[in-house]
């Protein structure tokens, strides 16, 4: 590893941010070259660079929000993205660009024509092909430093635990209520925080659930009162709402991983773009 650090030091150059801040940097091209030469994931090259005070240039615009140590935390994290449709496609792209080191991508479905209005991973040439494969390919194209774990499976009660294993945070991007509860149950069992979003039309909501929280029951009710789906069965899902809610999910994931900022535990971030209503609602009733 010392040899890697020496090579990073030799390749690093000086840069200057628009506000005048100077920094040491390493390019995407050099990161890829060192990853190949040393036979390690690009993520590991980036962590070694950050430890030496050198910023991988692809993350330089993160720098005023994350410290070098915080970028290392993100690169050392594993996030499970459950469902790779509208929410999951946008979540995958955002977390890839921000630099989450390991992404576990889970979806057993294939693309259909009706996905094209909102699912960023879908293109006409990918119709009838795997969503998980498309997501993995997209991550590699955008940020080859990221380690990808691809699962062409739909989550159910019997595989939930093995799919969520070792995730630092799980992101619920699923499209039906029973699967959301299966995921929540597994997340609670392994002690993982869960960020959950749901969309219908141009409305939707996001919440964050820690293992000890009541969670989805506060939204969907007890098991005998839960619907299988919501009103998206009549309203559909529109991309402007899907991507907005995916962004809020990613913001929650990053804050959980870094342990800073206000997260949506026992609260519901709600948005409705018809009336431009945005609110954070308390899910626990005051007794």
């Amino acid at each position: 590893m010392n040899d890697l650090q020496n090579r990073i030091a030799a390749l690093a150059t000086s840069g200057r941010l628009p506000d005048g801040t100077s920094y040491r940097r390493i390019s995407v091209e050099d990161t890829v070259r060192l990853s190949t030469a040393f036979g390690v994931p690009g993520r590991d090259v980036e962590i070694a660079a950050l430890k030496a005070g050198t910023t991988p240039e692809r993350y330089v615009r993160n720098m005023k929000t994350f410290s070098l140590d915080e970028q290392i935390i993100l690169l050392r994290s594993r996030v499970g993205i459950f469902g790779l449709g509208g929410l999951g496609g946008a979540v995958t792209e955002i977390l890839t660009r921000v630099g989450i080191g390991t992404l576990r991508l889970i979806d057993g479905d294939i693309f259909e024509d009706s996905n094209l209005n909102r699912q960023f991973l879908s293109t006409p040439d990918l119709i009838a092909t795997s969503k998980a494969a498309a997501a993995a390919q997209k991550v590699r194209q955008i940020n080859p430093s990221i380690v990808v774990e691809q699962y062409n499976e739909n989550l159910n009660d019997s595989n939930a635990l093995s799919l969520i294993e070792n995730s630092d945070v799980a992101v619920d991007c699923l499209d039906n209520v029973p699967s959301r509860f299966s995921l929540e149950h597994a997340a609670k069992q392994i002690g993982s925080p869960l960020v959950s979003a749901a969309v219908a039309g141009v409305s939707g909501h996001v919440t964050t659930i820690f293992p000890e929280d009541s969670g989805l029951e506060l939204i969907y009710g007890e098991s005998d009162r839960r619907p299988l789906k919501g009103v998206e069965t009549s309203l559909g899902c529109l991309p402007q709402a899907v991507t907005l809610l995916a962004s809020v999910e990613c913001s929650e994931v990053i804050k959980i991983l870094l342990g800073k900022g206000d997260v949506l535990r026992n609260r519901l971030f709600f948005v409705d773009l018809v009336s431009n209503t945005m609110d954070v609602l308390q899910l626990l009733t005051v007794s």
């Binding site: 499209d175 749901a198 969907y220 309203l235 209503t277 609110d279 899910l283």
Partner: protein, 77 residues
């Protein structure tokens, strides 16, 4: 004495919004269930109720001055 509340009905429930949504008259003690009946919203289409930003339920009583939000179930991705 007549009091007033504001009502927001979201997504599929938006079509039940009364013209007087910003200043809807209620008698103190009216429950959310009474309100839902008055508006003609099928109870089976209601999932979440918020009163002044805090989760309530159909038995919650309204005394005037509240902001009431009523949501159908949302589950798409």
């Amino acid at each position: 004495m007549q009091k007033y509340i504001s009502i927001r009905l979201f997504a599929t429930l938006n079509r039940y919004t009364p013209d007087t949504a910003d200043s809807y008259p209620v008698r103190p003690g009216t429950t959310v269930r009474d309100l839902i009946d008055q508006l003609g919203v099928p109870l089976t289409e209601v999932k979440l109720i918020f009163i002044d930003g805090v989760k309530g339920d159909i038995a919650s009583a309204l005394n005037g001055g509240e902001r009431v939000g009523i949501f159908p179930p949302v589950g798409g991705g």
